[in-house]
Symmetry: C2
Subunit: 129 residues, 2 copies
Amino acid sequence: MIDFKLDPKSGAPFYRQIIDQIKFGIAAGKLKTGEQLPTVRSLAVDLKVNLNTVAKAYKELEIQNILATQQGTGTFISDLKIQIPTEEKKNKLKEICNEFSAIAFSYGFSIEDIINQLQKQKSDENNYK
Amino acid sequence: MIDFKLDPKSGAPFYRQIIDQIKFGIAAGKLKTGEQLPTVRSLAVDLKVNLNTVAKAYKELEIQNILATQQGTGTFISDLKIQIPTEEKKNKLKEICNEFSAIAFSYGFSIEDIINQLQKQKSDENNYK
DNA sequence: ACACTTGTACTATACATATAGTACATTATG
DNA sequence: CATAATGTACTATATGTATAGTACAAGTGT
């Protein structure tokens, strides 16, 4: 389970910080398929925010098919591999990359800069194997 | 010179659409170092928005050292070549790439998927030249 | 059936953002 | 020096966003 934390100074809204931490948790392997997340209430109390703030984060992740909620039971990490249809997945990748390059671009980086950096990351990753 | 256009349905604010079109114009080679952009007034009239909306776009690009403004004269594309990535900038790139690959991971994409998509984007961009 | 736990919906409010209106400051040019 | 061109600053307003308060609905387990 993740140790959720909110930083009021970060500038990023609370609900987005929650979303990011869950996504990072999945990417880092700390959250696995089927695992239950804290309930909206318990996490809200824990983070000292309103339960709707947590619910909003969960809701957005549910729309993205990253979480599955069951009323009365809880919220769970869904099986990411079989969730998104391939065609939709391709569009999602395009969307992510567009947003990605737009942000990088605003910092003065070219697409090439990004590709080079990612390739560096990729070889780093292989070194761990 | 770019043929500026605004799409009210796009969801993106006008000033950001202007920014993006200038950035893409530079990336596509349509705008070159030293070239003068339309004045805030003329572009505002052309796009049927307030001059402050254009000014805001120019201002943001000036802060990013992409444009240089001279009161009484106009706004120009600055010399982008001398913007060598500093140490700080490199770290920023790394940071951005880390965050995005983490997000892409959570959707089930690999770094390779991202690189492939970005290379596709890059060649699309070159086709405009 | 009942109590309890879970997520959801509706409302209000404070705050930020985008755009516009208007007046001002600075520079160029004749 | 005067005028016109240019970007800038200040203000107002409408709209969207984030968060919270509270009540509701749906499922669980005894």
